[in-house]
Subunit: 358 residues, 2 copies
């Protein structure tokens, strides 16, 4: 605890800071969590990982829950995110998957036949091990738990590229959009249905917020984004159970798409480190967005304390025009020091108490 009296886990404080900020409230101290906060920069994670394959960590509820809890025990973060991978639900759909250590999908899904071979996810409880981990976590956690899934376009990009290490250019899915747009739409519809089931099941299991990661939609121009990627996300959000908490939608490298992203029906938009939160907020206005999440460059955690402090102040100032959940603009990097991660969380809590609204 860096600030006397700040305890996001305190049951007396009503709705947790993270959820209040998601609803658009100005919350002080500002809530903060870090994308990939459960991961390789933590020695306790590396220790577990030395004994278990990555996929086994994801698929064993006790282990997934343990890894999810690790950063929450160490830092005063205001939310936890389920430890898993966006590709996990593709396996029960019939796609072989391994990590060495980057993801490798066994076969490409590019043809009519390959797309038809995809199995729908079990509507009852797809990936039961994930739901079990969520139920275990809700018994342990004192901060809200975020469930998540990959956005259909991003999953389709991996699937179309399959059969080898994915290239960051993801030409195959864009090629499909130009060559056989109706096939691309079919693939996206299948993935959208599956992710609606999967994320909905997470909400029913107890996830208090739901995040949709569109890690590759930034490779699209606004026309293709609006035609293919965006409706697939809207369709997931429309089908989530009524008891859902806030939906957070994050497009990496999506600065050029913000006016379209505003139409996603998500409550909170994740912003990467390349766009100022104040500029993003203006471009998202008009939609139903209640808050922004982001956006410190994760590489700022390598900086001397003085620089980190300046950057945290800047992000707080740029985020001050409305609901703001402090986060990194991308996942925390594996060689980040523990001291720096801890300092970040404390700086956000401390400095946000000093900040004036802008």
């Amino acid at each position: 605890m860096s600030i006397a009296g700040h305890d996001p886990r305190s049951p007396g404080s009503g709705m947790p800071a993270f959820l209040r900020a998601c609803r658009g409230e100005r919350v002080r101290p500002a809530p903060v969590w870090m994308m990939r906060q459960a991961g390789r920069y933590l020695p306790e994670y590396r220790k577990l990982r030395a004994r278990h394959h990555f996929l086994d960590l994801c698929k064993t509820p006790e282990l997934a829950a343990e890894v999810t809890l690790q950063p929450v025990r160490r830092f005063s973060v205001d939310a936890a995110i389920l430890f898993s991978d966006i590709l996990i639900p593709l396996e029960p759909m019939g796609v072989g998957l391994r990590f060495e250590p980057g993801p490798i999908l066994e076969r490409p899904i590019r043809t009519e036949q390959a797309i038809a071979s995809l199995r729908p996810l079990d509507a009852e409880e797809p990936c039961g091990f994930v739901m079990e981990a969520i139920r275990m976590l809700r018994r342990e956690l004192g901060v809200p738990l975020i469930g998540f899934c990959g956005a259909p376009f991003t999953l389709a990009a991996y699937l179309a590229e399959g059969g080898g290490r994915a290239k960051a250019s993801f030409d195959s899915i864009v090629r499909m959009m130009y060559e056989r747009p109706e096939l691309a739409e079919r693939l996206l519809a299948i993935l959208s249905d599956a992710m609606a089931e999967y994320l909905g099941a997470q909400v029913r299991a107890g996830a208090q917020a739901a995040m949709i990661f569109d890690s590759w939609a930034g490779i699209l121009g606004p026309e293709f984004y609006a035609r293919f990627a965006l409706p697939a996300v809207q369709r997931i959000i429309a089908r989530l159970p009524a008891e859902r908490g806030p939906v957070i939608y994050f497009v990496l490298g999506g600065a050029h798409l913000l006016e379209k992203i505003a139409e996603s029906d998500a409550d909170v938009i994740g912003i990467d480190w390349r766009t100022s939160l104040s500029g993003a907020r203006m471009r998202l206005a008009g939609g139903r967005v209640t808050a922004l999440q982001g956006n410190l460059d994760p590489r700022a955690l390598y900086a001397p304390e003085e620089t980190l402090r300046r950057e945290v102040r800047r992000v707080l100032r740029e985020g001050a025009g409305g609901g703001h959940v402090f986060n990194l603009g991308h996942g925390i990097l594996p060689d980040t020091s523990l001291a720096s991660a801890e300092r970040l969380v404390d700086l956000v809590h401390t400095l946000s108490m000093e900040e004036e609204a802008s």
Copy 2:
């Protein structure tokens, strides 16, 4: 020749279409060339490449000139770009380089010592083999020849990452900017000086236009871009010989930086497929930019003819508000069909004659 009377190689037509468009003139038929037009999608290139290492193609003037000419012989493109690689001038600066087939730099340049070990380029004629290829090409070519170099930030990103396959995230150079900004500035200044010499020598050898590729500056937010990457480009442009032709500056994924890119002092700004040319032109207004270059998605070349035609029309329409050199928004892909590449060039020439100014 797709259009009667259109011959960019005709000496009778005064200044070539490409150069007139770079100056901001509305030129019809619209000039077109394709990034990476000398490359793997051409069978005659693959044939040569089967007998020579990539670096040998770059470093043997006769071979580099031959490869540069290949697309010009096959298609009615309005400009040729020297066949080479942005990393070529790093070798004489003391950095071991190989391609397998992606670029691998022998050692990382991250420390004070490593930066001090970089040798300045020979001011007389750095990379003489490149200048020899340019002189040979000027004797052969009927269209303008574009020389090029990498922008200092992009080269620094490769150098800092060195010692293995570069990761697309290029954390090392951004880390340096946060940890030791003065070191990053020193590295950029050295590269800026070297590229000014190198690109200047290309102009003196006969290159009629000069293109600066900032392939990775898009990973930066506007503040770091303006502080580190932009001044290094301005410094190159300021030092080019007075007889230089237009300078084209291309930042891949730079949509969020356009207002800063406007200050680069380049004449022509390359735009990738993610931003409409009309939107980009508005955001670049106020600077000294005379023309835009781009921006058909290279994956549109996989599309059926009808789709390609629609996309070419769209790019022509969006580019019609000022000087426009038609190009792809990124390099042509290795598995693009020859028929499609040829169709593109012809469509640009034909459809631009029908287009009304917008």
